[in-house]
Amino acid sequence: MHDVTYLRPTDLKDAVQLYRTTPGCRPLAGGTDLIVMLHARTLRPPPRAVLDVWSLLELKGVRRTQGMLEIGAAESYTGIIRSRDAQEHVPALVAAARTIGAAQIQNRGTLGGNLANASPAGDTLPVLLAYDAVVVTDRRSIPIDQFFTGYRKTALQADELIVAVRMPLGRRVVFRKVGTRAAQAISKVVTAVSRSPARVAIGSVAEVPLRARRAEAALERGDMEGAIAAVADDIRPIDDVRSTAAYRRTVTQNVLRELLSVKPAL
C-alpha cells in the first residue's frame, strides 16, 4: 500500500480547496481502480494523499437540468441503473452500466472515475461520446470529444475536479460490449452508435476511446456499408493480453453492422 493521507472534505467547496492545496493528491470515489493501484503500489508518481469525494452530496444524483440529463460524478452505476430518468433518457448508458463488473463494482464505480481514469476500455466512455456528453468540472464544461487527449490522459488540469456529466435528452443510442465473459469482463471492443446525429464511438480499439469520424461521415450520407468499411480505418487496435488487433478489427465491423440494423430500444 502506498502510504497516503486520507482526506475527507465536508462539501464540494472544501474538496476543491483541498484538491488545489494538497500536492500529490488523487480524488477517490468508489475506489474500484484507485484502491487496487494504491495497494499494489503501481501509481507513478506515488500519490501522497487521497481526496474522498464519494460521499459529497453535490456529486451524487441523476436529475434533469437545462434540457439535459445531469449525473453526479460520484453517483454509482447502480444509482444510474435504478434512476427512472436515466432509464428514460439515456438507456444506452444504463445498458453500459449494467455490463460493468457485477453488483459489487456497479455499487462503487462512477462516471467521474471512468472519465478521470480515461482507460481506452472504459465501458461508459463510448456511450458518453455517442451522447455528446459534457463533462462539468469545478470551473468549466468540457465537450466529451475534447476530453481524451492521449493514453490515459485527459484535458483536466492538475487540480480540476469532475463534478457531473450532462447529456442531451432524446438522443437514440445503441450499445454493445464485447468482453469474453458475461460479467466481470473488461471490454475487448465496446461500441455506441447514434444514427442522428451520426456518432460511432468505440473503446478498446485505440489508445483512447474514439469517435470513428470516417464511419460517421458515411453514416451521415446514409451509407451504412460505407460506414462499416470505413470504421476499419478509424481504429488503431493492438494485440494485447485480452485480444488481438485482427479480432478487434473484425468485431468492430461486425458489431457496427449489428448495431446499425438494430432498432433502438427508446
Partner: protein, 716 residues
C-alpha cells in the same frame, strides 16, 4: 432395545464443517493469527534461462530489520522432494535458472511495508542463455510411455478409411479461490510445525525433512481449512512450506508466507499443454481397426509429477473404446516455462479430448448416416472387453448406462431464433481410472487408523484432506454405517502428521474409493472386536493390493486401474457469429459413480468439474510472453461466472464396484474429461467448423468462421 440407526451412506447429510464455513468460523491459513509472526516473500527470476551471476543486497538499505534466505541457508538438500531431484528449493548462486518466476531468495520482516521496501533493494544479475519455449524445439525429454495392443502396422492396410487429425490443448490454472500459503513455526528440539493450505500433508512432510534435514518427528505438517485444490495444492505446497520453514529457521520465529493472486498465477503449476495426433483406421461399416496415437506434453522447466501425468494421459488416450490394435506413443518434454503439474484429470482430459473428437471426425468422414453416437455404441468398452493396456473389464462397466441416461435426460433441441446466433449440440463419452495408476496403490500402501474411545465415540485418523470435496463427511458416513452407530458418534482427527498415519495423497480420485474402503474395513473390524473387548481400541488398516490386480510397469500391460468411472456429457452451445463468443447454455452429464455415498456432494463435485472443463474449453486462456504468463491477474485470467455457467444437470448412475466402499468408485476427476470435447463438437454442430483445440476462444472461433466463409466464397 435401541432402534436400528438410520444409515448414513447414500443420504445427503450436512457437511461436517458446513456450519463453520457458512458463519466465517472456518480458519483458512491466512485467517490464523500467530503471535510474533513475520511475513515472508519470495524473490523470483525475471529471466527464463541463464545463470545467476550475482545477488546484491543494496548496502544503503537497513538489512538488520529483514531476514534473508538464499540457497546457502538450506541445511539439507537443495531439492524439492518429488519424483526427480531436478528442482532446487532456491536457485543457487552460479546455478542455472530454468524458468521465469523461479525462486531465488526469500525475505521476511515484521511488517509488510518493510518487506516490500526490502524487496526493491535486492539486485540479481544474470548470465543469459537461449531459452526453449516451444514443444517442437524441446530437446530434453522427462519421460516416455509406449502402449501397444495388437499390431497396428500389420492391419493398417486392412482399414477402408484412415482419419488423421492433430489436436492442441492449452495451459489451465486450477484457480482455487484461496491462494497458496503456509505458516511455519519453530518448535522445541529443532522441530518445525507448518500449517498450510494443502492436499497432501505427507508430501510436505517429506519435502521438509529433506530440505531442512529433519527427523520424522521434527517435521510436523498440519492442514488448515483449504480453499480448493484441484491438484494445484498437490505438489506445490511443498515449495511454499519449505520456504516458510527456511525463513522461520533463520528468523527464529514464526513466518507467514501467503501468496497474493498475482504471484499464485504467475508462479504456480498449470495443466500441461500439449499436442496429440491421432490416426484411426476403420472399416466401411465403422468397425474399428486401429488407433495410432502420439502425445506430446509440455512439462515446463522441472519434472514435478509430469511422468505420472503422462502415464495417465497415455492410458486414457484410446478413449472409452475397444480396439484390437492400438499404438500409443507419449512423451513429456522440458521447456523454459514455469513447471506444469497436477490438475484434476491429470493428463486424461488432454488425451480424452483428442480421442472423443476423433470419434466425431471418423463419423463425419464415414458418412452414410452413421452418427457419432452410433459409432460410440459400436466401439464402446463393455463388460469383458479389453482396454489398450490389455486390462479385461470384469465389473462395473457403465459405458452404455451413461450414454443411454444422458440421451434420455437431454432436452429437445431448440434451434436459435436469433439470426446472428447459431446453436449446436455435442456429446462425449469418457471413462476415468479411479485410484493410483498401476502399482501406485500397492507401493504406497496407504494407512488409516480408527479408534473406539472410552466415551463411546469413534475417531478416524487419516491424512486424507478435506478440500471441499467432502472427505470428512463421507468418511464419517462410511464409518458410522460400518460400525452401526449414529453419525454423531464418529469424529475425524485433524490432518496433522504428528497424529495421523500416511493415507497417501488426496489425489487421483482415490480418497472415497481407496481410503474410504480402508475406513469401512477398519470400522467393521472395530465393531467385531467390540463384541469381546472394551474401548479404548485402535485398528490400523493399510491398503493391500488384491491378487487379481496385475500390472507390469515395464511393458505397460495389465490392470492400469482397479476400476473405471464413466460419464456421458451432452452440451448445447450458442455461437455468436458477430463476436465468435461461445456460450454453453445447457449441460447434461450422466455419471456411473458406483454408489453415490452422498448424492448432493457427488453432484456438486460433478457440476464443479464440468464447469471447470467448460472454462478450459472456452475462455480460460494463458498467453505466453518471453516464457512467462501474460494472464497473471484475475482481470486477465478469466473463469466462468454464474452468468456464464450453463445450467448443469447431473444424472447419477449406481453401478456398484465390489471393492469400493458400499460400491463407490472415485469420480473427482472424471467430470473434467467430458465437457471440452462435447463443447467443441457442439460448436461444429452449430457452425460447421472444427476447432480441434481448446480453449476455443472467441478469437479462434471467429477466425475459423471467417476462414470457412472465405472458402465458401472462393468455391462459389
Amino acid at each position: 432395545m435401541c432402534p436400528a440407526p438410520v444409515t448414513a451412506v447414500g443420504r445427503s447429510v450436512p457437511r461436517r464443517e458446513g456450519a463453520d464455513k457458512v458463519t466465517g468460523r472456518a480458519r483458512y491459513t491466512d485467517d490464523i493469527t500467530v503471535q510474533g509472526a513475520w511475513s515472508g516473500r519470495t524473490i523470483r527470476s525475471t529471466i527464463a534461462r541463464g545463470a545467476i551471476r550475482s545477488i546484491t543486497l543494496d548496502p544503503a538499505f537497513d538489512w538488520s530489520r529483514v531476514v534473508v534466505v538464499t540457497a546457502d541457508d538450506i541445511p539439507g538438500d537443495n531439492v524439492v522432494q518429488l519424483i526427480r531431484e531436478d528442482q532446487p528449493v532456491l536457485a543457487p548462486r552460479g546455478g542455472e535458472i530454468k524458468h521465469k518466476e523461479e525462486p531465488i531468495l526469500l525475505l521476511a520482516a515484521s511488517d509488510r511495508a518493510t518487506l516490500e521496501e526490502a524487496a526493491t533493494h535486492v539486485r540479481i544479475e544474470y548470465e543469459l542463455a537461449n531459452p526453449v519455449f516451444e514443444i517442437g524445439s524441446a530437446t530434453e525429454v522427462f519421460s516416455t510411455v509406449e502402449i501397444t495392443k495388437g499390431d497396428v502396422a500389420s492391419v493398417e492396410r486392412t482399414a477402408d478409411l484412415v482419419v488423421e487429425r492433430e489436436f492442441r490443448v492449452g495451459l489451465q490454472e486450477q484457480l482455487y479461490i484461496e491462494p497458496q500459503g503456509a505458516i511455519a513455526l519453530p518448535e522445541a528440539d529443532g522441530a518445525f510445525r507448518v500449517v498450510g493450505s494443502l492436499q497432501c500433508p505427507y508430501y510436505v512432510h517429506r519435502a521438509l525433512k529433506r530440505a531442512l534435514k529433519l527427523t520424522d518427528q521434527q517435521a510436523i505438517v498440519v492442514q488448515a481449512e483449504t480453499g480448493g485444490g484441484f491438484g494445484g495444492k498437490e505438489e506445490y505446497p511443498s515449495i511454499v512450506a519449505v520456504h516458510a520453514a527456511l525463513l522461520a529457521r533463520k528468523a527464529g520465529r514464526p513466518v507467514r508466507l501467503i501468496y497474493d493472486r498475482h504471484e499464485d498465477l504467475a508462479a504456480t503449476t498449470k495443466r500441461h499443454p500439449g499436442v496429440i495426433r491421432h490416426r484411426t483406421g476403420v472399416k466401411k461399416d465403422g468397425t474399428l481397426v486401429f488407433q495410432d496415437i502420439e502425445i506430446v506434453l509440455d512439462g515446463g522447466a522441472y519434472c514435478t509429477l509430469t511422468p505420472v501425468v503422462l502415464s495417465r494421459a497415455a492410458i486414457h488416450a484410446a478413449g472409452a473404446y475397444s480396439c484390437p490394435n492400438v499404438r500409443i506413443r507419449a512423451r513429456a518434454v522440458a521447456t523454459n516455462t514455469p513447471p506444469n503439474g497436477a490438475f484434476r484429470g491429470f493428463g486424461a482430459p488432454q488425451s480424452l479430448f483428442a480421442a472423443e473428437l476423433m470419434v466425431e471426425h471418423v463419423a463425419e468422414q464415414l458418412g452414410g448416416g452413421v452418427s457419432s453416437v452410433d459409432l460410440r455404441r459400436k466401439w464402446m468398452l463393455r463388460l469383458g472387453d479389453t482396454t489398450a493396456t490389455g486390462q479385461v473389464l470384469t465389473e462395473s462397466v457403465g459405458s452404455e448406462l451413461v450414454l443411454d441416461a444422458a440421451l434420455k435426460a437431454a432436452t429437445t433441441f431448440q434451434p436459435s431464433n436469433i439470426p446472428t446466433v447459431r446453436r449446436g449440440r455435442g456429446l462425449s463419452l469418457v471413462f476415468h481410472g479411479s485410484g493410483f495408476t498401476g502399482s501406485g496403490e500397492k507401493k504406497l500402501s496407504g494407512t488409516i487408523a480408527m479408534e473406539a474411545l472410552a466415551d463411546g465415540t469413534f475417531r478416524i485418523l487419516t491424512a486424507s484432506t478435506e478440500i471441499g470435496q467432502g472427505t470428512k463427511t463421507i468418511f464419517c458416513q462410511l464409518a458410522a454405517d460400518a460400525l452401526g452407530v449414529p453419525l454423531e458418534r464418529v469424529t475425524i482427527a485433524p490432518q496433522d502428521t504428528s497424529l495421523v498415519p500416511d493415507s497417501g495423497p488426496t489425489v487421483a480420485s482415490r480418497t472415497a474409493m481407496i481410503v474410504g474402503r480402508l475406513v469401512q474395513e477398519a470400522a467393521a473390524e472395530i465393531k467385531q472386536r467390540l463384541q469381546r473387548e472394551r474401548p479404548p481400541l485402535r485398528v490400523d488398516k493399510s491398503y493391500i493390493q488384491p491378487d487379481s490386480i496385475h500390472w507390469d510397469e515395464a511393458t505397460y500391460r495389465g490392470d492400469a486401474y482397479p476400476v473405471y468411472a464413466w460419464a456421458c456429457t451432452i452440451a448445447d452451445v450458442d455461437v455468436d457469429t458477430t463476436t465468435g463468443e461461445v456460450r454453453v447454455t445447457d449441460l447434461v452429464t450422466a455419471v456411473d459413480c458406483g454408489k453415490a455415498l452422498h448424492p448432493v456432494m457427488a453432484e456438486g463435485q460433478i457440476e464443479g468439474g464440468c464447469l471447470q472443463a467448460v472454462g478450459w474449453a472456452t475462455i480460460e486462456e494463458i498467453k505466453m510472453k518471453d516464457g512467462g504468463y501474460q494472464n497473471d491477474r484475475l482481470a486477465t485470467y478469466l473463469i466462468p461466472t454464474a452468468l456464464d455457467a450453463p445450467r448443469i444437470r447431473t444424472v447419477l448412475i449406481e453401478n456398484p464396484y465390489s471393492r469400493g466402499p458400499f460400491g463407490a468408485k472415485g469420480i473427482g476427476e472424471l467430470p473434467m474429461d467430458g465437457p471440452a470435447p462435447a463443447v467443441i463438437a457442439a460448436i461444429h454442430d452449430a457452425t460447421g467448423v472444427w476447432l480441434d483445440e481448446v480453449p476455443a476462444t472467441p478469437e479462434k472461433v471467429l477466425a475459423a468462421l471467417n476462414g470457412a466463409q472465405r472458402r465458401e466464397a472462393a468455391q462459389s
